[in-house]
Symmetry: C4
Subunit: 233 residues, 4 copies
């Protein structure tokens, strides 16, 4: 048995949540789970249908994107995952999907405005949309540069990756991350819901305003602040 | 066995309807069921996934929001439920969800206009949207004040809680109530459907008018008036 | 066994299709099936959940709306069904739903424009929307008058009920009919699909034109004309 | 056993994917699978519900549209399939559906603009929409002419059928094709997803621009170029 079976199992289970949560069509998505003590992550193999996945098929890759174990080719987005793991030390799970509403917002090149408490329960800013890369970056090491595009977009907007665990990559699709792969999948489902509700909100009221700060802070803190009182811990 | 098992059972069954009716993502919703002779209600524990719920896990709380029985922390919205039970003596069930279309309308800060008989079968006014609270109220006892925000919004609009069993809380999400928890869940599903149909109606006809009064009254009375002739009672 | 069991069975099966085809929320719909030789129709009892229906519970009513057999109260829309059966001799099935998109169009008081062949495969005109009734008609025998409102709307638009088997009742919801109850259910599902596609079509192209006549006639005739070549008969 | 059983089996399995992928209502779609060495294709019989299909019921037709084997009447769109097989030598599977969003775009007579990488992963141009036929063509051999309308639309837009495996037929609905019937079904599901996302994208940003060329080429080549690195081959 592989010494990586624990993250293979974690990545497998998280990947299998994507079709259950209606976040993927065919194989348009991937999840990885990292073990920082071993310096590697397990990621979905490229183009393999979800119904054919098993924990053993998860490919083990290091934080430079080099395959460490596995016979299958890892997801074509592997280098993006590797860059994020290398630069963001507190995350252990990453998800990429082409979920319908979040991807439509990414195609519109717009941040998703914070319109309500469902959004504020998870982040206190708009969901950022990273600009498309320059032509040079695209022609270079594309997936690698996608990782930097995400990191730089957060920096430019003065956002912390521990506060904002989701982003839209312009003209492309969303990425989410978290301390665990399961939580990153949760974030992808939340993002899809926020994207759908914001679309309907703007359709129903063309000039709707963002929610005010007092309400944003209250909702975030009741779930995430030092005196949070949501959940059982 | 707890002497509250009857309302725990009722609250459990009503909570389990929320995912079946596609009204919640993850744990974004809660139902409570009250026993007025005992002066308490049973409510979903905070942040516990629906698939892990059981009747025994429902927390027993009094109408001041104090936990009377149960090891788990009650829903973070418990004080809102308590305020409503305390002030509205004829209700025994309350539901809070972040259902997609109703929440999008709440985010738009608009009442849902009465466009058709599906709406009039359930209430004769627009679905009211309570304004967001003042910053002071938000920084105070937030969930407690949410209850008063709901009560006051109905008063200001001259609506009775026995006639109008649903409201949107601006920038937040819907609350519904009724004589039973099961009926309150029914109201949440109806509200979501009204919200979806009103969104499509306005998209198809930007300047559509409300339905006329004669039709509003007819439909409401055939279901709820003294000479109602809908259903088997 | 009732001598009406054949139409009770037919009405039961047709009613059970409504939730399967996602055309109803709770009990917001009903189907009837007529036997013209016996001068009666079987219709869903009022307000009974679909999961509790059985053929025996279908109520037998004559074409004047009088209950002939059955312990349950028939659908509150029974008089509308009765009027249509009485005046339209070639139909043996009627369906009423509050399906989402068709009802939204009814609320907009607009006919559904004929935008494509999916529509023309079933009717060569826009889906008509009957105007809301006058206040006098509403205050009178409402469901009875709804039947005449439907009949008169077709007349005013020079449409035949054998050519156009569906209508929107303004501010209310759709009715469909056919030679059998099963076909009337089919028409309700087709109408919902036409309503959804027309909504998206107009959203994607605000000034879209109706489909041209040559294409309308071709598609209708290949399914319904004397030289039709769709299906196996 | 028929000597065509291999393509009957292939066509059967591909047809059964259409309802599973939510691409058809009732019988509004058909798939065919060709064997070029035998000069025939297997196609769904006309108007037969999916649940009643079996491999043996697939009708065998030659590339001139003449039935070679089978007791049932082939799909009413058979001549369109025949024309495409005859003129496009590299395809072995064709799908026609009336899927909701793609059909709505066809009704709008608009090409689907290339807004994101999900689109560019599959084709580097907008999804073309063929203009409705002239009245003469419609009154002539309609389905036969539909085939030529598709072929000519690609030619006029300088598109190759091996690069662009999908089209909208104006006022009608989509057709897709590929080297296999299974891949053609995949293309239909992708097209429906692209159509839905483009609808939302434009709703969220009315003046959104197409994605830039560098990104289009990068994404197409990573899946389809000589140095493609998506999937396991």
């Amino acid at each position: 048995m592989s010494k990586y079976i624990h993250i293979q199992q974690e990545a497998f289970e998280a990947n299998m949540q994507l079709p259950k949560l209606n976040l993927v069509l065919f194989t348009f998505g991937n999840v990885s789970a990292a073990d920082r003590s071993l310096g590697v992550f397990a990621i979905k193999p490229s183009g393999v249908p979800y119904e054919e996945l098993s924990p053993e098929k998860m490919v083990i890759v290091d934080f430079d994107g080099k395959t460490v174990e596995g016979n299958l080719r890892p997801s074509s987005d592997t280098l993006t995952h590797a860059v994020l793991y290398k630069h963001w030390e507190k995350i252990n799970g990453i998800v990429h999907t082409h979920s319908t509403y979040a991807t439509a917002w990414a195609q519109s090149l717009r941040d998703i405005p914070l319109y309500g408490t469902t959004h504020a329960d998870h982040l206190t800013s708009d969901v950022p949309c990273a600009a498309p890369m320059s032509d040079e970056m695209i022609k270079g090491d594309y997936e690698y540069e996608t990782g930097f595009q995400i990191i730089n977009a957060l920096k430019e907007k003065n956002l912390s990756y521990t506060d904002v665990e989701m982003i839209l990559v312009g003209n492309h699709a969303p990425f989410t991350w978290a301390k665990t792969a399961a939580k990153a999948v949760y974030n992808s489902a939340v993002l899809e819901q926020l994207a759908k509700m914001a679309f309907i909100t703007e359709s129903v009221h063309a000039n709707v305003l963002r929610m005010k700060d007092a309400l944003i802070n209250k909702h975030f803190e009741r779930k995430h602040g030092p005196n949070s009182y949501y959940g059982q811990e």
